[in-house]
Amino acid sequence: MATRIKVPNSTDAANPSGALSKEEIMRYSRHLIMPEVGMEGQLKLKHAKVLCIGTGGLGAPLGLYLAAAGVGRLGLVDFDSVDLTNLQRQILFDTNDIGRPKIEAAKNRLRNLNPDIQIDTFETRLTSENALDILKDYDIVVDGTDNFATRYLVNDACVILGKPNVYGSIFRFEGQITIFGNPGGPCYRCLYPEPPPPGLVPSCAEGGVLGVLPGIVGAIQAVETLKVIIGKGEPLVGRLLLFDALAMSFRELKLRKNPKCAVCGEHPTITKLIDYDEFCGIRGEESASPAQATVPEISPRELKSRLDRGDDLFVLDVREPHEFQICNLGGYLIPLGELSRRVNELDSSREIVAHCRSGKRSAEAVEFLRSAGFRKVLNLKGGILAWSDEVDASVPKY
């Protein structure tokens, strides 16, 4: 028995004012000749209203495929501008878009792809204050964000408004995809009641993403969105799809509604939107890790002048070996994850300056070394990025 998701406000397909034009019939002919879509399905697409939160790696294939498929009204939410590092995966943008607001570049690209659809843009960060207002006009919400705080916000707002939330998230070579919420299905909090505390989220050491991965995951979100709209097939509800691009495997886990869920359970304790930065233990995007705020630091310029002076400093690089290959400051390499095991390679009588890419991992390293009895350890403030900015511009940033 197929699970059906009710799409709120879907327009009556018989409405003559909503009929397809001759040109639209040509444009969507490869849909129209399939019985699973047909004229009925295509009209449902035309009258559908989908909100894409994020126009980055996941939002790019989503936006492109939903626009191409003829989803009549597409909302886009993003506050970022296009930068060079985005182009490895965010296929909505091209090199000429660098510096432009993503929303503007995305709208332009999608309008060129399909001038017949309406594109609404929200150039803003989604917040507890604006979320319900932005989401309320749409039938389906697609979550293509990149942080826990916004994911919990999107989830709770969708539960409160009773809207399906087509979820996708990615990490390196792995993706997770499902449809949360409406009607009666599990939500994100049923799966994960709480986010990881900031210090425990895998840091930049393990970060990165294969450029194609969000393409695949975002395309799967697009498929699920289209299926929900046309009401065909078996929607990805109550199932968490795990994709591993390295193994090239798909696995499926059962996803159950938690009767004790704080937002969608029998006795919800969260009935309105909350402060999600606080919930996720963060204060704003640029907030430093707890270690970063407390450990002793040295600025890049100070380190440079002390090295030039011939001070006996031991430079410890706590990045990963593959990062060391991109660029290095000639330091001694012990990845943060191996530090506790290899701490005996360090001489506690010498003054140590630890660094990483941005100063976050090395702050953790400094904190660890101090707790292990090292007295003279400093964190290079801002890491290699700051070194490149302030001391040696020939060191590439990544």
Partner: protein
């Protein structure tokens, strides 16, 4: 029971970079304890300071969430696949 534990990408750096680990274990508790004994650094990622399994780390036996079985007392059978599935937020920011 001979079981296979699948280590998710975010936790592999703390588990000798392995994708999976074969081990003998009668329950989920034993399997996770075996994992933590083998890879000490995994401990703080799997358990809170009070020794409880962290709420952003889910554990499955085959395709079933142990929260809906017997939690950590869930019995394992030969050939079972244990998956550790932490929440990932996506994106590439630090």
């Amino acid at each position: 029971m001979a079981v296979k534990v699948i280590i998710p990408t975010p936790l592999r750096p703390y588990a000798g970079k392995q994708e999976s680990v074969e081990m003998e274990a009668g329950t989920i508790r034993e399997a996770l304890a075996g994992l933590v004994t083998r890879f000490g650094e995994l401990k703080k990622h799997l358990y809170s300071e009070e020794g409880r399994l962290r709420s952003f780390v889910n554990v499955y036996v085959n395709d079933e969430d142990i929260r809906y079985l017997e939690k950590e007392d869930t019995q394992l059978r030969d050939g079972d696949i244990v998956s550790i599935v932490p929440s990932i937020a996506g994106g590439t920011r630090e």
